[in-house]
């Protein structure tokens, strides 16, 4: 079984400042990793995913994440945030084999302050 821990439930940050949202996972098998964003009153949107290859993954809206296998982490970063980045961010994993459902972390609420 897999589990995902998002270490921060809320992250306030000033506009144009950098941000890092932390995600650690636990799994007995290799996994794919995902970050989703949920804007207020909207559905989930894929930000980025790690499948294989380069451990630094670039996504939409200027976000990137780095996969660290030894630390079982997949932290999300953005060098300069905007007010429009205010949203809930979810880290998720699934095993490599089969069309199994995603296992989500509890989410991190990013609040960008003007």
């Amino acid at each position: 079984a897999q589990s995902v821990t998002q270490l921060d439930s809320q992250v306030p940050v000033f506009e144009e400042a950098p941000v890092e949202l932390r995600c650690n996972y636990s799994s007995s098998v290799s996994v794919y990793l995902f970050w989703y964003v949920q804007y207020p009153n909207q559905g989930l949107q894929l930000l980025l995913k790690y499948l294989s290859g380069s451990t630094l993954v670039k996504g939409i809206n200027g976000f990137e994440a780095e996969f660290n296998k030894s630390q079982t982490s997949f932290h999300l970063r953005k060098p300069s945030v905007h007010i429009s980045d205010t949203a809930e961010y979810f880290c998720a994993v699934r095993p490599l084999s089969g069309n199994t459902p995603l296992v989500f972390g509890k989410g991190t609420r990013l609040s960008v302050i003007a």
Binding site: Y32, Q42, G43, L44, K49, F104, G105
Partner: protein
């Protein structure tokens, strides 16, 4: 990428009643997943719905409370039965997309009063 139409987008229901949520996908998919997102919480898998077989429910979820239909490869419904205020949540459907991705419906925001 697949597009999911989920209805209704929101509803306010009386306790003791039932609500059926629909998800229509614009392509054929074998599996469909139903999730619940309680207020301020993450997404919890309710069940996996395969066409032509009974849905597989996760621990803590039962068919009598959350019956699921999957009549064909593009459509599924989830019913929330005999609702109580504790069922107030966002309900989402999801389908695998390609080899590794997933597409989500826009969600149904349910309030039980």
């Amino acid at each position: 990428s697949a597009v999911i139409s989920q209805k209704p987008s929101r509803d306010i229901c009386q306790r003791g009643t039932s609500l059926t949520i629909q998800c229509q996908v614009d392509s054929q998919v074998t599996m469909m997943f139903w999730y619940r997102q309680q207020p301020g919480q993450s997404l919890t898998l309710i069940a996996t719905a395969n066409q032509g077989s009974e849905a597989t429910y996760e621990s803590g979820f039962v068919i009598d409370k959350f019956p699921i239909s999957r009549p064909n490869l593009t459509f599924s419904t989830l019913t929330v039965s005999n609702m109580s205020p504790e069922d107030s949540s966002i309900y989402l459907c999801s389908v695998p997309e390609g080899a590794y991705g997933y597409t989500f419906g826009s969600g149904t925001r349910l309030t039980v009063v």
